[in-house]
């Protein structure tokens, strides 16, 4: 009898159904580019990805996690550092980019060198200025970890860690980091808390007339690469997209980043050269450098009065999504279960 009960208990464990997670976004948004087919879309995979995202075990000397350069409260980017730093204080060549609404991205990194969200994390993992390790080494480390054997078992019904599973779990976490509840979003949806002041309305108008052709609503980005007229920093000599495509016409082009949560994602630009939004706006109105690959949108000078600049800044603050920046589901995973 106890044997039969034993079997039932065993079966009970085997048959535990994972809790489904849903990918939600406003119905008037475009369809996501990412095809979710490889993800299990379960709470267990999400939680595994969350643990991995916050775990310094992913770096060679266990000092740096994904979250070191992608902090939630600042829109999942590295605040106050022009160039992001990795293990042993090594400095990279680019400003870490914010992580949000990634399912709509067709490529990743400032130069678009990464072609798919599921393989994006390989870049920081193996960059010697960032985590300086390899996926194979992480597989080995995680396979020795009881905590992760248990988390992988829960997520995939198999405790064996593979490179693919690590990458998919990280994807399951980061792809859920979606921001669509800013004051601007509520204004668009006519929701409570979405009443724009006159100044915000004027700011939105200025934005639409001068910025929205590249920073397209509702994502405030585009999957394009543009030369936005920054002069070349001779200490970096970073020519952006051309280094990936080897095409001269891609010289000095970088990804058009999202402006969502921009109030908190300073510094700005691929090399973090501007600390404030005022500097960014001044760049676009009076410092654009003309070169053969300069974006068409910037060929003609953008002229804004001092008041218009202030109005634009006020509007940009409406892109702040407190619900996203302080969502506990996205924060450091407290040990809620004992394994």
């Amino acid at each position: 009898m106890s044997f039969i009960i034993g079997i039932f208990i065993c079966l009970g464990f085997v048959l535990v159904k994972n809790e489904e997670v849903f990918f939600e976004y406003p119905e008037y948004w475009p369809k996501p580019v990412y095809n979710f087919s490889k993800l299990s879309m379960t709470e267990e995979e999400f939680q595994l990805g969350r643990h991995l995202f916050y775990d310094p075990l992913l770096s060679r000397d266990h000092t740096i996690s994904c979250a070191s350069c992608h902090l939630q409260a600042t829109g999942f980017t590295h605040v106050d550092h022009d160039l992001s730093h990795g293990i042993e204080g090594r400095i990279g060549t680019r400003n870490s980019i914010s992580i949000m609404n990634l399912a709509w991205n067709t490529s990743f990194m400032w130069d678009g060198g990464v072609n798919h969200i599921e393989v994006q994390s390989l870049a920081p993992i193996s960059s010697e200025n960032e985590m300086d390790t390899s996926l194979a080494i992480i597989v080995e480390k995680l396979n020795k970890s009881e905590k992760y054997n248990s988390l992988f078992q829960k997520a995939y019904q198999d405790s064996l860690v593979t490179g693919q599973k690590i990458l998919l779990a990280l994807t399951q976490f980061v792809v859920m980091l979606n921001s669509y509840n800013s004051k601007y979003d509520k204004y668009i949806r006519n929701e409570l808390g979405g009443k724009f002041t006159e100044q915000e309305k004027i700011g939105l108008k200025i934005f639409r007339n001068n910025c929205a052709s590249c920073h397209k609503e509702p994502l405030f980005s585009s999957n394009d690469f543009k030369n936005n007229g920054l002069n070349v920093d001779s200490t970096l000599n970073d020519f952006g997209r051309m280094m990936v495509t080897k095409k001269p016409e891609d010289s000095l082009k970088f990804k058009v980043p999202t402006l969502r949560n921009i109030q908190f994602t300073q510094p700005f630009m691929h090399d973090g050269r501007f600390e404030t939004l005022q500097e960014v706006i001044n760049h676009y109105t009076s410092e654009v450098q003309h070169s053969p690959t300069l974006a068409n949108e910037l060929q003609e000078q953008i002229i804004l009065t001092h008041k218009e600049k202030v109005d634009l800044l006020v509007f940009l603050r409406t892109l702040t999504d407190q619900k996203f920046l302080y969502n506990k589901r996205f924060s450091y995973p407290r040990e809620t279960q004992t394994n």
């Binding site: 798919h116 393989v119 960059s127 990458l167």
Partner: protein, 242 residues
């Protein structure tokens, strides 16, 4: 009535016997089966290729090899009648100095003598743009670029006094899937004599080193013109051992 029945029986037995004999002869004389094992034998010209042994190329370069790894993928059978039969999930990572990985088992395939076996040296564009894959295509296998997505189709590492690089090392990481620098190459061999369903393919690395100047070309780590130059030679390294 009864007689004729007996005769009939004998005849059908005879036919069965003849068929059996024919089938036996067939499997001995002509390859025909439902699986195919490919064995890759590495050489440097006529010498068996071994890790960290010294070899000399036609250009008088002394060479030592520490790593040779490559993908063979997308196996297909092209019948004499012109029909193509694709083998799903036939993606293999071969490491020349690892005996087990040099043996590739293709299951559930039917073929006969005179058919052609087709495959890619490297990974096709679709797999290069499909995110995180598993098994032999798992990026943890160390055959994937991280800063610029894509598989390394072919890795050759070693040293030669002809290379004025650090520790005289040469490193060829050949890959790239975007035109005009797509480095995946196609290979076909005619199945003539697969005894016991085994096809032996000789892999001669000397063919590559006889045709490049390694004092100038010794570090190729990114997709581009130089990778293409090497990729174009790679199919010649493989030949059917008859």
């Amino acid at each position: 009535m009864l007689k004729s029945k007996t005769i009939k029986t004998i005849t059908s037995k005879k036919i069965k016997l003849v068929t059996l004999v024919l089938l036996l002869a067939n499997s001995i004389l002509f390859a025909q089966g439902n699986h195919l094992k490919i064995e890759i034998n590495p050489f440097f010209k006529t010498k068996v290729l071994k890790k960290d042994s010294w070899y000399v190329s036609k250009n008088n370069d002394s060479l030592q090899f520490s790593k040779i790894k490559f993908y063979l993928t997308d196996f297909k059978i092209l019948t004499k009648e012109g029909k193509t039969k694709q083998l799903p999930n036939s993606d293999f990572l071969v490491s020349i100095f690892n005996v087990e990985s040099r043996s590739i088992l293709l299951e559930n395939i039917s073929y006969k003598t005179g058919d052609q076996l087709l495959f890619n040296i490297g990974v096709n564009e679709k797999m290069n743009t499909s995110g995180a894959l598993s098994g032999s295509l798992d990026p943890a296998n160390g055959m994937y670029w991280s800063w610029q997505s894509g598989y390394i189709n072919f890795k050759i590492e070693g040293k030669s006094p002809s290379c004025s690089t650090r520790k005289n090392k040469f490193q060829f990481h050949i890959g790239g899937y975007k035109k005009p620098f797509a480095a995946t190459r196609f290979k076909s061999v005619t199945i003539t004599n697969a005894i016991n369903n085994v096809l032996i393919i000789d892999f001669d690395i000397a063919i590559l080193f006889d045709s490049i100047d390694i004092s100038n070309l010794n570090q190729v780590m990114i997709p581009g013109k130089e990778a293409i130059e090497i990729a174009d030679i790679l199919p010649n390294l493989f030949s059917l051992n008859e």
